[in-house]
């Protein structure tokens, strides 16, 4: 028994890796379809955008790279779909240096193909990528054209209908930053005090605990924490707009809701390992010679 406990305590981590791999892979192949419950931080974000009027404009900043795309892509797509449904205009930028622009282009192309009525320049515009994140944000706080003189295709901002009347972030109703790392925090600590524009953040799950402090202080109006937050947002969209089910329940594409199956099984496996480890630890302490 003692030997068994010692072996359990010193378990080769590769056994744990194997169980983690199976717990994530099997639900992808055989979906379980577990329900998702929503949290207040996500509901606040959803309700804020729902309360915007048709014709209002939001800025969506792609501040993440390919590494966190499974968590962040569903958030960006969900919000853009909501904007398309509510006729809210959106301006897309990318501030993450490695891969942010590619992800922004892919996400915009995907949503635009789903809503053929969306017109580039009138309903949305993609301003592309700019280096220097915090300097770019501060410049946009006073003068967007100073930071992005043209859109991605080279059209000057003065010739783009959606930018008429929008000189700075003060004329934008919301900034939605989909972020991994520090860039998301800069929107909250630097841009929000400067321009007063409300901010919603979609961070990775690892960063989400930190942003509860900003949520509580009112510096954020909502948060989508990790893949769970994205899955919650997808659920809220389906509940409010049942016609959106075709993008979430019948599609072969990856969605955050599908990813939650794997995450749930993995949480269960990790909890079991923790329980096993603690049981072995406590039993070995009890049986240890004085």
């Amino acid at each position: 028994m003692r030997r068994f406990l010692e072996r359990l305590l010193g378990l080769d981590r590769r056994w744990i890796f194997l169980f983690v791999l199976l717990s994530v892979a099997i639900p992808i192949i055989v979906p379980i379809g577990l329900p998702v419950t929503t949290t207040e931080s996500t509901r606040k974000a959803f309700d804020f955008i729902e309360a915007l009027k048709p014709g209002d404009t939001i800025l969506i900043s792609f501040d993440y790279g390919p590494s966190s795309a499974p968590e962040n892509d569903p958030m960006a797509e969900a919000v853009m779909r909501q904007c398309a449904l509510r006729k809210i205009r959106f301006i897309v930028i990318a501030l993450y240096p490695l891969g942010g622009l590619n992800l922004a282009n892919n996400a915009v192309a995907k949503v635009v193909s789903e809503f053929p009525d969306l017109k580039d320049g009138t309903d949305y515009v993609n301003l592309g990528y700019k280096d220097g994140a915090s300097a770019v944000m501060r410049r946009m706080g006073d003068d967007i054209a100073g930071a992005f003189p043209t859109d991605q295709k080279g059209t000057p901002l003065s010739q783009i209908p959606i930018m008429k009347g929008i000189a700075s972030l003060r004329q934008v109703q919301l900034v939605f930053t989909v972020a991994t790392g520090i860039i998301g925090e800069w929107w909250i600590t630097q841009v929000h005090p400067q321009s007063g524009t409300p901010v919603i953040i979609g961070p990775t799950a690892v960063s989400a605990p930190k942003y509860y402090a900003f949520l509580n202080s009112g510096q954020l109006v909502g948060m989508l924490g990790g893949m769970k937050g994205a899955a919650e947002y997808e659920k809220l969209i389906r509940a409010r707009y049942p016609e959106m089910a075709r993008f979430y329940t019948t599609t072969h594409d990856f969605t955050a809701t599908k990813g939650m199956d794997g995450q749930t099984v993995m949480h269960l496996i990790v909890l079991l390992f923790i329980l096993l480890g603690n049981s072995a630890f406590l039993l070995s302490r009890r049986g240890a010679p004085r």
């Binding site: 419950t37 891969g99 749930t264 390992f273 923790i274």
Partner: protein, 266 residues
């Protein structure tokens, strides 16, 4: 020609003063080591003053603070060149000396030249790094989509495995604090995902109870994240911000010199 005060002051502070200092310091190493400190003082003071003084020459679009931000981007570009030269030097040396693992240096150098070459090709031909005129991906985009992105995702995915092994090793009830950590982590892990519904899948009569229990766990998790976690995060953020302000003040006043490689009294 209009006189623009901001750039003139910047050139004075960051070019003229250091150059004079270098000449004066040719015979005096002590004075020469003061020059970086003065540059740090000016570089630190200007953005702080720009925060409170909205005058155009200081905080305007072409003001001193904005220009310094632009200079930082240019500096970083040149420093990247320095870094690349260092990578080339180290790896060529490794290959030449046939040090252990020299083959990986060959792979690195091939990757560097192929990717860099693809990017330069896109710039020279003015096609860019996205799509060709016929809609096909450029070599750079091909490398990004099929090499870079999957590799990045793979390394990030390692987090899941390492988190599980770290949790197995670290979440042991060794003492009171560790037990509190363990219980809180367990509650949050159960509350964030529908574990209870998953466990109730083979038992249809328990589905409703599992759903309400899961909802209750979710609310408890939200409370843990909002209240204890939010309070702790706020405390650490405020403390760290004060520490950062104090450190920044020490750098600006020239008291903190360790990052320049200067020791006590230097």
């Amino acid at each position: 020609m209009t006189f623009n005060l901001g750039p003139v002051v910047l050139v004075l502070l960051f070019a003229v003063v250091p150059i004079i200092g270098i000449f004066l310091g040719l015979n005096s190493p002590g004075l020469r080591s003061r020059i970086p400190i003065w540059v740090a003082v000016f570089a630190g003071l200007i953005p702080i003053l720009a925060m409170y003084i909205p005058k155009g020459f200081l905080s305007g679009q072409t003001g001193m603070s904005q220009r310094m931000d632009d200079w930082l981007i240019i500096l970083a570009g040149f420093a990247l060149l320095l870094g690349i030269v260092n990578v080339l030097q180290n790896n060529f040396k490794k290959v030449a000396r046939r040090d252990s693992g020299w083959f990986y240096s060959v792979v690195l150098l091939i990757g560097l030249f192929v990717t860099g070459g693809a990017g330069i090709y896109g710039a020279v031909t003015k096609i860019g790094i996205g799509f060709n005129p016929d809609g096909s991906p450029t070599p750079f985009k091909y490398l990004t989509d099929w090499f870079f992105q999957p590799l990045q995702s793979t390394i990030f995915a390692l987090l899941a495995f390492f988190m599980a092994s770290a949790a197995f090793r670290a979440f042991r009830a060794r003492n009171v604090e560790a037990t509190i950590l363990l219980v809180a982590a367990g509650l949050v892990m159960v509350g964030r995902v529908p574990i209870l519904e998953l466990l109730a899948v083979p038992f249809p009569s328990l589905h409703a109870s599992a759903a309400s229990a899961s909802q209750a766990m979710g609310k408890l998790t939200e409370w843990i994240m909002d209240v204890p976690n939010g309070a702790a995060q706020s405390g650490i953020i405020i403390g760290a911000a004060l520490g950062a302000a104090s450190m920044a003040l020490r750098v600006i006043l020239g008291i903190e010199r360790g990052y320049l490689g200067l020791g006590k009294g230097e």
